[in-house]
Amino acid sequence: MDNNTNNYLADFPALNQEVNDERLVYLDNAATVQRPRQVVQALVDFYEQDNANVHRGVYTLAERATKDYEEARKKVQKFINAPSPNEIIFTKGCTDGLNLVAATYGEQNIQSDDEIVILIMEHHSNLIPWQQLAKKKGAALKYIELTPDGELDLADAKKKITDKTKIVAVTHASNVLGTVTPLKELATIAHQHGAVIIVDGAQAVPHMHVDVQALNVDFYAFSGHKMMSPMGIGVLYGKANLLRAMPPYQYGGEMINDVHRDESTWADIPFKFEAGTQNIAGAVGLGAAIDYLNNIGMDRIAQKERELVNYVLPKLIAIPDVEVYGPQSPAKHTGVIAFNIKGLHPHDVATALDMDGVAVRAGHHCAQPLMEYLGVTATARASFYFYNTKEDADQLINAIKETKEFFNIGTV
């Protein structure tokens, strides 16, 4: 197994550039990933050949666009093994999907004194919607805490989820700690108490094989742009019976059955939740991204990332004064690695690494309650995707060492 030969790099023009006169090492994949030529070409082809609005059109171009769009829906369905394409709702992104569920299912089903249970490590997108819903309804918001190793505390979960719990909203993979949530166990606990489980899959779907039926989750949201699709497209999966019982989220074209002056009726799923002109080209691009991922195979992708983590995490931990958050064992860690250098602010670290061509993020990663929990205001974060290489990892490690030296000596 040779990780230094990267067969994929040639597909990613954005990765083949220099920044600050250094080879770009892009390690902000948890924020957004780069797109292969194949996905960009799918966009170009759509716009140059089939571009039209869908569903309503009788003419040839509209038929083609409709076919493209609905085929993309089926690709998504198969990719996450949803029972039916009607359960795949195209959204603007993961945030949009989670807000949709909170504003429809949540609004309809949460009453005062009900409980909503989330994780302390949630991204703001899967935290604030529930926090504000709880506030509005007079319901309680409860947080499942972490084990000392930074993993989800299942014992705490069993305590926090009770018969009063109506919604369990959890991230599938943390965008800070690099942990994967034991979803199946949580789903079982939630269902035992009559609650639904709503999953933020933004950091999972791009990196591992996800099967919504095997996990037995009720809702599952994710973003296309973190799995190489164009921006502005995402997916919400929901069980058909739940989706059918929910009111619409937005009102407009395409989501109606019949509109009169004073009343309206709604279309069946998924259209009930797709008001207005959708990002058709974005959906087509997402389909192309799924094709690309399937061509490699999600298992192979997970394995490539595992090898990278096995390689880089011990090296990172070995640097004096570097603290890595979340599990210290590579086996328990995804390609998302948050860290700090003692005495240095992560913003300064990120600027310094950028001078060495290494793009990492610094900040609270939209997880302020987790930062509070960890007792920091911010961290640096390097996040890997399958197209990264051991060479990238080495450049990161070297740049961190140089950064430490620079700030210790005050100049280079």
Binding site: H55, R56, G57, V58, Y59, A62, E63, T66, K67, I256, N257, D258, T265, W266, A267, D268, F271
Partner: protein
Amino acid sequence: MGLSKLNNLYREVILDYADHPHNKGRLATTTNAMTLHNPTCGDTINLQVEVEDNKIKNIAYTGDGCTISQASASMMTDAVKGKTIEEALAMAKTFSDMAIGKEHSKADLDQLGDARILTSIMEFPARIKCATLSWWALQRALLKDSKEEENNE
């Protein structure tokens, strides 16, 4: 290619059915009924069925729509009159399966009577809904799937 391809879709018999619809109107006695609506074009079909001894004794429709949907309703009502509920449902399945591209035996097709002509709709994907609307209405009327009433994609 111009309009010549249209001949495939709008055969004389279809235009004739649309211009001189069969079974258009309302029944005196109705056991099963269904109103379906195609939200993309505004086509509507109100279907009334009188079932007696498990057979379709009488069937009629009213509604408004394009040539294809009117001809299809007209042909469908002709084709299922006198059939048992099971037979009618099987025919509806054959038609709607065909409309989504599944292959069927000649025997199945023949059973559809004149309505089988409308399978030429396959060449015009955007018009498939127009042709299947009345068959869906029949299916739902017979199955009394009232929960989904008024709802369709």
